[in-house]
Structures are given as structure tokens and as C-alpha cells.
Amino acid sequence: MAYYVLTLCVYVVVATIACWGLNLQFGETGVLNFAYIIFVAAGAYTASILTLGHPTSSGYQQYFWGAHLPWPLPWLAAGVVGGLLGLVVGALVLRRLRGDYQAMVLLVVAIMGAYMVSAAPGFLNGGIGLSDIPSPFRSMLHTSQVGYEVFYLGLSLVAALIIFEVMRRINASPLGRVLRAVRENEAAAEAVGHNVATTKLLVMVVGGAAAAIAGAIEVQFISAWAPASWTYTETFGLFAAVIVGGRGNLLGVTVGAVLVQGLFLEGTVLFPSIGNPELIGAVQWISLALLILIFLWFRPQGVIPERRRRFGNLARGSRA
């Protein structure tokens, strides 16, 4: 039981970090990044190949390159790769395309990412995916399974605290105001001299890095990663968490991640199974969809709404 609760906690921390990155893009800036899960995947693959070591031709898994790097380098490298991917995808999609095209192309990008990895078995072991990914300090710490999980939860919480602080500072800074200006009215933000395209590119990079670090933390914990772990529908689980929690509010997003990702998607295993076990996944997704619809109808601002900001005499409402 302790083992299970600890595993759940690590999952929730990972989901929370990912949700913060998504909130920066969707909640703060209004960029609808349907390809968000591929950033998580990029981070996970980066951390995997940087801990697995050089691929051997006789090995049971094939990947194009690898190294043995000590913690925390794989996590940091994952962040860099996520940021670079954000730069590439952002430059491709955000700079020249209209809003509706952006959303569609990003959805296509998400699905194509999985196709590409599956189609090239030599790249990242194709559809089977990578496994036996080492966990940091595993051999050095002579603890029990539960003891190690406590340690890993601590490591991930440290990463989460740093990312939270970065997000909080962005939110409170003049940059945060620019992001919200872009979200509320792109034309007006452009008119007062903000570069909308660069701003969006920036949140693609920062949000992408957060997603990738979340992926790195996840993969070193579960020690396996395959295209099936990052189907594009996973992105909607994260969107649901941001919407339910309260987009634009970091605390709200955290609550949303705990509620949706923790209790709803992972925690259902805790409850006694009802009916056909094959249908648990389907029932989960159906309830998730209903949850999104109910929240968008009754409480589009989420559980903890974005706080109204006051500047002197001017009260600026946050229209969600």
C-alpha cells in the first residue's frame, strides 16, 4: 500500500510539472498546444538514452546514440531538448499560421511524432520502446524499494519546487502581463508594441522544457518508455487538469493535477474495480470528457480561478 501511494505521489508530481508548463502556454498565453505530449516524450527519451549508455549491436534494444550521465544531467539535458523542440515546432507552426491552423497542425504533429518513432526501429527502438532505464543513485543507496521511492519522490519534489518558482516569477513579472495581454487580445498586444510571435515562441520553449523535465522524471521512475505511453489523448488529460483546476492560476493548476491526474486517472486503481476490467480505460476517458464538459459549462474558470489583478485604480477583470 505504501508502495502504491508513493508511486501515485511521483505520478502526481510529474503530472503537476507538466500541467504548469501547459498552463504557461494555454492558461497564461492562450497557445493551444495539442502536441504538448511530444515534449514530455522528448524529455523521457533524452533522459533514457543519456542513462542507458552506448547502444551495442548485440543489445536487445536499438537506439541511435547513448551515454552514461550522472544525475541531474539527464534531467537538465531533457529540459534543453524540450526547449529546442519548442523552438523548432514553434518556429514552424506559430510564426506563419493562423490560430485555427496552428491548433490543427499541432494535433497532426503530435500524432506524426508517434508514427515517426514507431516507423524507425533503429532510432528509439520503434514501437516496442526503451526499457531498463536506470534510476539515479539506485545502486549507491542500499535501501528497500519503499525507501528508494521516498528518496525519488524527494528528488522530483526538488525539481518541482524549482520549476514552480520559475513559473511563479514569470507569472508575477512584467513578462506575465505580456503573456496575458497576448491571450486576451493579440491585436491589441501587437498594437502596443509587444511581439506576439516571439512571446508565443518563448512560452513554447519554456513550457516545452517543463514538459520534457516532467518526462525525464517519469521515465527514470518507471524505467520504460514507448510510443504507447504518449498517445495524443494524454495531452487532453493534462488539458482537463488545467481547465478543472483553473487556468492561469498556478495553485489552481496544482489542485487540478492532483484531482484529475492523481485521483481520476491513476487513483482509480485504488478503488475496487466495477464491472468489466477491460472497460476501465474507456470509462475513465468517458468520465474525463464529461468532467471537461461539465467544468466548461458550469465553471469555466476552474476550481481556483485566476486572481483578479488590481493596478492602482484600474481593476482589470480576468475574462476566461
Binding site: A103, L107, V108, A119, A187, L279, A289, I292
Partner: protein, 294 residues
Amino acid sequence: MDTVLTSLGFGIVTASILLPAAVGFTLQFSATGVLNIAFGAQMTFAAYIAYICTQIGFGIWWAVALAGLFGAASSALLNRFVLTPFMRRGTNFFGMVVVTIALALLIEYLVEVIWGPLPVSYPMTSSSAWHLGPMSFTRSQLIVIGISVVFAVATHTLLRYTRMGKAIRAVADNRDLARSSGISAQRMTDIAWLLSGLMGGAAGVMLGISLSSVSYTMGDAFLIEIIAAAILGGVGQVYGAMLGALVIGVLLEESAIVLGGAYAPISAFALLILVLLIRPTGIMAGAAKTKGIA
């Protein structure tokens, strides 16, 4: 060379399924401004309705018609009872995208709950193939191509020569101006959803016939190809979508032969990215205008 021509035949069949789907998707988008991610899931649902029709004794082509009608009705009801109320509450463009995604998940997994995760197939009688040079088509493939041509001609006639078609185009072009000229935008919106549901439903069954099996993820996977065709043609451009469907359909099958099946969707994607880099508004963007979407 022969294999290229043979797969051209397959490409034409794939394009024939893509065409009504892409036209329905893009027509509804241009008239209503709602990006309907649930389109693929609606296709799947209609394909299963056709399966039920064949189980209770209808012929497969009757099933196509009935599934098309079901698709039209369900799509119009979905608009009336879910999407329009959300729009009235002031949900913005991106909010509506999230709503249709939720609907897509809802429909897709509802199908899994009702009909189970295993694929089903239509009872099809095998028939002799009809040859045209190195290309060969079965009778059902020829009928699929025929249905697609009928859809293309009907859409063209409707939009070009009827009052209703002109009204739909007017609403797509400028909703406010159309309303002030006495066109009921609400009615045209309903009709657009009806038409897209009809074409999507029929395309769903045609896809099931072509794949010779129907599964709950079928439409969702096909949605990417529909979106690719629609974007390629310029979103909201009906004739562009027809051309896009033809290009994507043929490209998918040709690249499956030349590069191998796993790379087929990737080549379609590469073409899409290339086109978007050169012409960010699609190949038929001449008349496309930036709609007020944000």
C-alpha cells in the same frame, strides 16, 4: 512502373473516402467557425450503426445511406443541444475546440463500451475485379468511387446553383452581413452540421468497407488524414478540400509502395509541412480570408 499505377488505383479509392469526409469537415468549419475534432469519432459511430443495419438484414449500400442519415441527424442534434448552447454561453474558439475534443473522447469510448474493443466487419460478398490497365477495382471499390463522385457533384451543385448553397456561402463568408441580408444564420448553421454529418457518416462506412473492418479508433486515426486534406486545400475551401483529398489519398498509397507502409502517413505529413511553409493558407488560398478567430 506497374506497381506505381496499381497503387494509384488504391490511392483513388482512399481519396474517394477522404473526399466526402474532408468536404464535410471543411464546409461545416467554414459555415460555423467550430473546429470539430469529434468528426472522426462521429464517423466511427455511423460506421457501427451501419454494422447494426447489416446485422438486421439490410444490404451494405442501404447501410451506407442509413448511416449517412444517422450521421446527419446526430451531428445536427449535437450542434443544437451541445455546441450551440456552449457558443451562446460565450465559449471562445479555443474553448469550443476543447469541447469538441471532449465529445470526441466521449463518442469514441462510448463506442468501445457499447461494441467492445475488438473490430467487426461488414458482410461483403466477394466479387470479380474490374481491370483498367494495371489498376484493378472490386465492385464495392467502384461503388465507393461512384458515391464520392456523387458527393462532389452534389456539393458543387448545392453551393453554386441553389439559394440554400448561396446562403451557406454567405454565412461562411461574413456571418453578420449574411444575417443583415435576411439569411437565418442559425438555420444555415444547422444545415451545415447536417451536411457534414451526412458526408462524415457515409465516409465512415466507406472507410469500414475499404479497411474491411470497423474498430472504435478507426475514425480518430482517419481524422488526421482528413485534417491534412482540409489544410492542404486551405481550411474552409470546399474545392480545395476535394483537391487535397485526391493529393493526400494518392500520396498515402504511393508512398506505402515506394517507402513502405510505416512511412505512408509520414510522407503525407511531410508534404503538409512543406505546403504550409510555402503557402501558409493552403493550396487554394486565393479566396481565403482571415476570419476573426481568436
